[in-house]
């Protein structure tokens, strides 16, 4: 049994501990899990990227930059997946932000039904990308071709999944379906922080709705646009689930994105963990560079504001 006095004694002593020890005591639980499950694997990934480690063989050796050379020079599938991902990112950053901004403006301009539209447009974002991908697989393979069997509309009855250029469109469609609502909500929040008097006085000065949007609202929500662009950059470089569910990277490997290429290299095809780690490190470098630019741009904005 521990007496009350002893307990008081212990607590008092704890109060007297140095600030650093107390800081460590409060942060240790989070730190332990974070270091073991994020930082150690992150460092491990970089280390393994210089080795020929594979998942089957317990021994491995250091091979220098050989993996990186192989990935960037010889591995045509990886290079193709990089280019495919870049193209995807380009389309996503523009279209996702454009659609989200336009829809946010339209929703906010409505007097009635704001909540209904916001809810419906945001709903797809709540659905897991893997489920969304499967639902759209049904749409592309069963529903759309059936709507237009004779090909009168020209484009609905496509081999959406089997033809690489159409499956690119299919992947984009599903990504936008899932992702536009997310950015829209962020833009709506930004629009709501624009002072109403500013818009009113522009109106009184005779500015039409487009003029108000372009000259008053847009400059005010530019910080949100920066956030939106970087969010979609970050998310689309890491795209995985949609492609996994929709095309599995096919036909062949025509729609393979970087994340899927890494996944297949490590867990499905060759178990070359060291080699896949080199590709993963390259992906990390890209995301890292984007984030650094993002932080710099945001800092600059803050100084100006």
């Amino acid at each position: 049994m521990v007496s009350t006095e002893q307990l008081v004694h212990v607590t008092n002593r704890r109060v007297a501990l140095s600030p650093t020890v107390k800081l460590l005591a409060f942060t240790a639980p989070a730190l332990v899990f974070y270091v073991a499950l994020v930082l150690v694997p992150a460092a491990g990934g970089i280390w393994y990227s210089f080795t020929n480690w594979n998942g089957l063989n317990p021994t491995y050796r250091f091979v220098g930059v050989q993996n990186y050379v192989e990935a960037l020079v010889e591995d045509e599938y990886f290079i193709a997946s990089l280019l495919f991902t870049l193209r995807y990112v380009g389309f996503m950053v523009i279209l996702q932000n454009l659609f989200a901004l336009v829809l946010a403006l339209l929703v906010e301009a409505r007097r009635k039904g704001r909540l209904v539209f916001r809810t419906l447009l945001f709903l797809p974002n709540m659905i897991s990308m893997i489920i969304g991908g499967f639902i759209w697989l049904f749409m592309f393979t069963r529903v759309l071709p059936r709507l237009d069997p004779a090909g009168a509309l020209g484009f609905l009855n496509q081999s959406w999944i089997g033809n690489p250029s159409w499956s690119f469109v299919a992947i984009l469609t599903v990504s936008l379906w899932a992702g536009v609502g997310y950015l829209m909500v962020i833009y709506i929040a930004a629009l709501q922080s624009v002072p109403q008097q500013l818009i009113e006085s522009a109106r009184i000065d005779g500015a039409g709705p487009f003029r108000v949007a372009r000259s008053v609202i847009l400059p005010m929500i530019l910080p949100a646009v920066t956030i939106g662009i970087f969010l979609s950059l970050n998310m689309s470089f890491k795209v995985f689930e949609v492609v996994y569910a929709l095309t599995g990277g096919g036909p062949g490997r025509a729609t393979q994105v970087v994340a899927l290429n890494i996944f297949e290299e490590a867990f499905n095809m060759s178990y070359r963990y060291g080699y896949a780690s080199a590709k993963a490190t390259l992906l990390f470098l890209v995301v890292f560079a984007i984030t650094l630019v993002q932080l710099r741009v945001m800092k600059k904005r803050e100084v100006e504001a």
Binding site: L23, L103, F117, I127, R142, V185, I227, S277
Partner: protein, 282 residues
């Protein structure tokens, strides 16, 4: 005259905007509605007429989906992951975020910097070594282990959000507690933590959505079918190149999205706020 012309122009613009919004909303929900509609038909009906209402609603498809995905079992597994993950993230991140926000000096800055660093690391860059680490730590293969991995991955953003919010809790409270000789952990648990409730809600919402909808991590960590999460069970039904038995599959997809969609519709306000806070401050 001008007044009339302006109002005509305005109502035309209004109609256009309404039309655009309705089209967008239609595209947003039509795939879900088509899935719902066809999940109540036989496979034959799906082939003959995809748009028609089912002759008789086949709720049996849902029974098949229930059995094939061991739905209740999968939901239970997912809940275990969620509870372990949420408990760890909220508990550890609130403690750390509070203390980091209150402590000045190099040590505090370095530790906070370590956590912020995680936002630069994409999951795909750590997933390969993570499978090895989790095997070593015996976290692989169990739902509790998966929840624990989510704690490690989830604390940084939560710490970041708590760190910012703690600044709004007056420091005078701290000082009063010190004078009273209150043990700091108890002071934190009884006084500070309740005041952090708004951001705790945000963190719970964000992490629930993340863990429920995440597919890749469970895919890497869980191999035993009796421990599958809802998404893994759903994915299992897809023999990619086989003949798709769409009626049962669609029922499964609807079932799998139902919990999170219901939650969203019920707690919409918090979800939207959580999304915005997480995106802007994260």
């Amino acid at each position: 005259m001008t007044g009339v012309r302006i109002s005509v122009r305005e109502s035309l613009a209004d109609l256009t905007s309404l039309a655009v919004l309705m089209l967008a909303a239609f595209i947003a929900i039509v795939p879900v509605l088509m899935a719902l509609l066809n999940s109540l038909k036989t496979d034959g009906e799906i082939i003959t007429n995809i748009l028609a209402l089912p002759q008789v609603p086949r709720f049996g498809n849902y029974l098949i989906a229930f059995e094939r995905t061991r739905f209740l079992r999968s939901v239970w597994n997912t809940l275990v992951v969620l509870l372990v993950g949420l408990a760890g993230i909220v508990l550890f991140a609130s403690m750390a975020g509070y203390k980091l926000s209150r402590t000045r000096g190099a040590a505090s800055g370095i530790i906070f910097g370590l956590f912020v660093m995680s936002m630069l690391i994409p999951f795909h860059s750590i997933m390969i070594p993570l499978t090895r680490v989790s095997r070593t730590l015996r976290l692989q293969g169990s739902t509790v282990g998966l929840g624990i991995i989510y704690v490690g991955l989830g604390v940084p953003l939560a710490i970041f959000l708590y760190h910012g919010f703690v600044k709004s809790v007056p420091r005078e409270l701290d000082e009063a507690a010190v004078i009273d000789g209150c043990a700091e952990l108890r002071y934190f648990a009884t006084i500070v933590f309740p005041l952090l409730a708004p951001v705790t809600v945000t963190i719970i919402v964000l992490n629930t959505l993340w863990m429920w909808n995440d597919f890749l991590l469970p895919l890497l960590m869980i191999t035993d079918m009796t421990r599958y999460t809802v998404l893994l069970s759903t994915n299992m039904l897809f023999g990619r190149y086989g003949n798709h038995e769409w009626s049962a599959i669609l029922a499964t997809l609807i079932l799998a999205m139902l919990p999170v969609v219901t939650l969203f519709l019920a707690l919409q306000k918090y979800v939207m706020r959580g999304i915005v806070d997480g995106a802007i401050k994260g």
